[in-house]
C-alpha cells in the first residue's frame, strides 16, 4: 500500500465566469523512500493538488469527488480537527513563500520548538535543543543565534531553510513541498535538495515535490507525474519519462529542456493559450495545442499503460514506441541532436 494514494480527485472553483474545473480526476501514488516530482505549466493544478490533500483549499474551491488516502485513511473526508493534528506531525508542508508562512511575532526558534512540543510532546529544554539542531541540519551557521531571529530579519534563502527545519522537526512521514527552491541561489538550492534527499534515504519518509525545474526532477526524484489542465497526463520513472516520453505534452517539455536553440528549426505561430477551465474542450484537454490531434481526440481519453508502471493519457501514446526498433532510433536521434 502506498503511503499517499490520491484517487480521481476533482476540484471545482467558483469564479465570476462560472465553475472552473481545476482538477479533473487526479490519481497519483507516493511510496515510502521516494521523491515524486509533480510538474506542469502554471495553472495546471499542481498547488491545488497539494492543498486538496492537506485540506487547505480556500473558500471558493471544493473537492467534488475523489479520495487522498494517507496510510489508508482518507484525508479528504477526515475532520479538520484530525487533519490539523496530522499536519505538522506526520504530514508536513513546505510552501514557496517562506516569509508569509512564518509567524511574524514569534522568533523562528520558538516556532520550531513549539511545534515539536505540541506534536511530539518534547519537553521545553529538549524542544529548544531540537530546534537548534534542526536549524543546523538545514545548513544554518550559528543556529543558536539565528533561532532568536524573526521572519522579517531573514533573507529569502534563510527563511526557506527555516521553513524546512520547521517541516522536518517532527520527522514527518510525508513532506509536500511546493516549489521549495524556486528563487533561491543555486548553491543554496543544492544544499536544500541534498538535505531532503538524504532525509528520505535515511528515514524512509517520502516527498511530493512540486517544481517546474526538470533539472531538479532529473537529479532528485525517483518518479515524476506530468500535469496538464487538472489531469496527470503521464507518469513514470525518471528514466521512462526523460528517455521515452509518450504524451505529446511531455515530449514537448522534455525536448524544450534539451533545447540547443537550433535556429534552423522553423518558428511557428505561438498558440500556447492556457485552456479555459470554465469551458474545457471535450476529450483531450491538450488537443488545441497538440500536433498529433485527430478527430478521435475529442472523445474521452484512455489512460494507457505503456510498460512498467509508465502510463500516458492519450489516444496515440507515442506512436513510434509501438515498434521497439523505431523507438530505439528515435532515442538515438535525440542523443545525436543533444550531443554527448
Amino acid at each position: 500500500m502506498a503511503l499517499l494514494s490520491i484517487k480521481d480527485l476533482r476540484v471545482h472553483i467558483a469564479t465570476p465566469n462560472g465553475t472552473a474545473h481545476a482538477l479533473n480526476g487526479v490519481s497519483l501514488d507516493v511510496d515510502e523512500h521516494e521523491i515524486v516530482g509533480l510538474i506542469g505549466e502554471t495553472g495546471a493544478g499542481k498547488s491545488l493538488t497539494a492543498w486538496s490533500v492537506l485540506g487547505l483549499l480556500g473558500p471558493r474551491a471544493r473537492v467534488v469527488e475523489g479520495t487522498a488516502e494517507f496510510e489508508g485513511t482518507d484525508l479528504v473526508s477526515m475532520s479538520e480537527r484530525r487533519r490539523r493534528r496530522l499536519r505538522g506531525k506526520d504530514v508536513a508542508v513546505i510552501v514557496q513563500n517562506p516569509r508569509g508562512a512564518l509567524d511574524p511575532l514569534r522568533s523562528v526558534g520558538r516556532q520550531i520548538a513549539e511545534t515539536n512540543r505540541r506534536h511530539r510532546g518534547a519537553g521545553r529544554k529538549a524542544a529548544k535543543e531540537n530546534a537548534i539542531r534542526a536549524l543546523r541540519d538545514v545548513g544554518i551557521s550559528d543556529p543558536a543565534r539565528r533561532a532568536k531571529a524573526f521572519a522579517h530579519q531573514l533573507s529569502g534563502g534563510m527563511a526557506q531553510r527555516v521553513l524546512i527545519a520547521l517541516a522536518m522537526i517532527n520527522e514527518p512521514k510525508l513532506i509536500i513541498a511546493d516549489e521549495p527552491t524556486t528563487g533561491l541561489d543555486l548553491t543554496v538550492q543544492a544544499q536544500i535538495l541534498d538535505l531532503l534527499r538524504a532525509r528520505v534515504d535515511a528515514t524512509g519518509s517520502a516527498v511530493l515535490l512540486i517544481t517546474h525545474d526538470l533539472g531538479v526532477v532529473a537529479n532528485y526524484c525517483d518518479r515524476v507525474a506530468v500535469m496538464f489542465a487538472g489531469r496527470i497526463v503521464e507518469q513514470g520513472t525518471i528514466a521512462q519519462i526523460f528517455g521515452n516520453p509518450r504524451h505529446p505534452y511531455t515530449q514537448a517539455l522534455v525536448k524544450a529542456s534539451r533545447e540547443t536553440l537550433d535556429e534552423t528549426v522553423s518558428e511557428e505561430t505561438d498558440r500556447s493559450e492556457p485552456p479555459n477551465l470554465v469551458d474545457l474542450p471535450s476529450g483531450c484537454h491538450y488537443r488545441f495545442r497538440c500536433p498529433l490531434a485527430a478527430d478521435v481526440c475529442a472523445t474521452p481519453v484512455p489512460e494507457v499503460e505503456v510498460g512498467g508502471g509508465h502510463r500516458a493519457l492519450c489516444h496515440f501514446p507515442g506512436d513510434a514506441a509501438r515498434d521497439p526498433g523505431a523507438a530505439a532510433s528515435v532515442r538515438a536521434e535525440t542523443v545525436e541532436r543533444v550531443g554527448p
Binding site: 543544492a190 532529473a218 520513472t237 517539455l253 533545447e259 511557428e268 505561438d270
Partner: protein, 334 residues
C-alpha cells in the same frame, strides 16, 4: 574598437529608511558589449543585475561611473535628448503579467512607446503594430485582446514587440524567460536570437539560469554582491570557471541528463547583505580559500586567458580551485 555599449566604474547606492548606511547594490562594475553581440549577466537574486541593467538605460541614475552608447554619453544627456534616446534602447522585463497593465488592450501596450518616443500618425502606428506582431510570430487578432487572455509565452512576445516598437539598437533583457513555462521558453529564446541576427541588436541578457545564458551569450559576466567577479567568453566562463564562487555556482547547476555522479563544490552560509560591505573580496565571509590579503581591497580581474578574467587573489598563482565535496551520488536512473 566597435564597442557599442561601454560602462565604466558603475556604482549605485540606495538609501533605505531606518538605516544610516546605504545599500551598495552595485559596487564598481564595467560592462562592455560590441555591437550586435550578447553579454550574459548571471548571479544570484540580489547580486545587482537588474540595477546594472537599469543604469545602462538610465532608468536609474548611477551614483558613480560613465555610460556610453555608441558615440553618445548617456549620463550627460539633457531631458529632451534623453527622451529621443529612449527610442534607441529598451528593456524587456521578467514578469509579463506584472509589467503590463491588465486593463489595456494589447494594441495599446504595443503602440505606447510609439506615442511616447516618436511622431508617428495613428495609421502608421497601426501598421507598425501589425508588423511587430509578425516579427514576434503572433497572429494579429491578439492585438484586440487583453493580457489575461494570453499565455505567459505569448505575453512575453508582446513585451518584446513593445520593446522593439521604436526599432532600438540595444535591449536589456531582464530575466525574460524566468517566469515562463518550459514548453514556451525555447520558442521565446529562439525568437530573440533571430531578432538579433536580423536586426543586429546588442543584448544585455540578464538571467540566473545558466543553461539559458549559455545558449544566448557570446560573453558572460558573473556577479556577486554588486561586483563582477568573473567574465570572459561564454564557453570559457561556463566551462572552465576560475573564481571560487563561479565554481560553486556551476557545480550546483542541474543537468536534465545527469551522468550518475557529480562532483560538487560547496559554499557554506549565506550571502551577506549589501549594507556595510566590508572591504576586500565580497566572497571572503564564505570562501574556504580565504586568506589575509583577500580582505584588503576588492581584487581586480586577473587574466586567466585572453579575455577571461577572475577577481580572486589566488588566480595568478593558480591556487584558486575549490576543494570538491562528493562525488554526490545521483539516486535516479532506476
Amino acid at each position: 574598437m566597435s564597442e557599442h555599449i561601454e560602462a565604466r566604474g558603475i556604482v549605485k547606492t540606495f538609501s533605505v529608511r531606518g538605516s544610516r548606511a546605504p545599500v551598495r547594490a552595485v559596487n564598481g562594475v564595467d560592462i562592455v558589449i560590441p555591437r550586435g553581440r550578447t553579454l550574459g549577466l548571471v548571479g544570484e537574486s540580489g547580486s545587482g543585475k537588474s540595477t546594472v541593467g537599469r543604469c545602462l538605460l538610465r532608468l536609474l541614475e548611477p551614483t558613480e561611473g560613465t555610460v556610453r552608447h555608441g558615440e553618445h554619453d548617456v549620463l550627460a544627456m539633457k531631458p529632451e535628448t534623453l527622451r529621443r534616446h529612449r527610442a534607441r534602447a529598451a528593456m524587456v522585463f521578467q514578469d509579463p503579467y506584472e509589467s503590463l497593465n491588465p486593463r489595456m488592450r494589447i494594441r495599446s501596450v504595443v503602440e505606447e512607446p510609439l506615442m511616447l518616443h516618436t511622431d508617428l500618425e495613428p495609421s502608421a502606428r497601426r501598421r507598425r503594430a501589425a508588423e511587430l506582431m509578425r516579427l514576434v510570430r503572433l497572429e494579429e487578432f491578439h492585438l484586440d485582446r487583453f493580457p489575461h487572455e494570453l499565455s505567459g509565452g505569448q505575453l512575453q512576445r508582446i513585451g518584446i514587440a513593445r520593446a522593439l516598437a521604436t526599432d532600438p539598437e540595444f535591449l536589456v533583457l531582464d530575466e525574460p524567460t524566468s517566469s515562463l513555462d518550459l514548453s514556451v521558453r525555447a520558442g521565446v529564446l529562439r525568437l530573440l536570437k533571430r531578432l538579433q541576427r536580423e536586426l543586429g541588436i546588442t543584448f544585455l541578457f540578464i538571467s540566473h539560469d545558466l543553461t539559458t545564458v549559455a545558449a544566448m551569450s557570446d560573453e558572460v559576466a558573473v556577479m556577486y554582491l554588486g561586483t563582477v567577479i568573473e567574465k570572459g567568453p561564454a564557453a570559457e566562463v561556463l566551462g572552465n570557471p576560475q573564481h571560487p564562487y563561479s565554481q560553486a555556482l556551476l557545480s550546483a547547476a542541474l543537468s536534465v541528463d545527469p551522468e550518475g555522479r557529480r562532483v560538487r563544490h560547496v559554499l557554506e552560509g549565506e550571502t551577506p547583505s549589501p549594507v556595510d560591505l566590508p572591504p576586500g573580496c565580497p566572497l571572503a565571509s564564505r570562501c574556504p580559500l580565504v586568506r589575509n590579503d583577500c580582505r584588503l581591497a576588492v581584487p581586480p580581474l586577473f587574466e586567466v586567458s585572453e579575455g577571461h578574467g577572475a577577481a580572486c587573489v589566488r588566480v595568478p598563482e593558480g591556487t584558486n580551485v575549490l576543494p570538491a565535496v562528493g562525488p554526490v551520488p545521483i539516486v535516479t536512473a532506476s
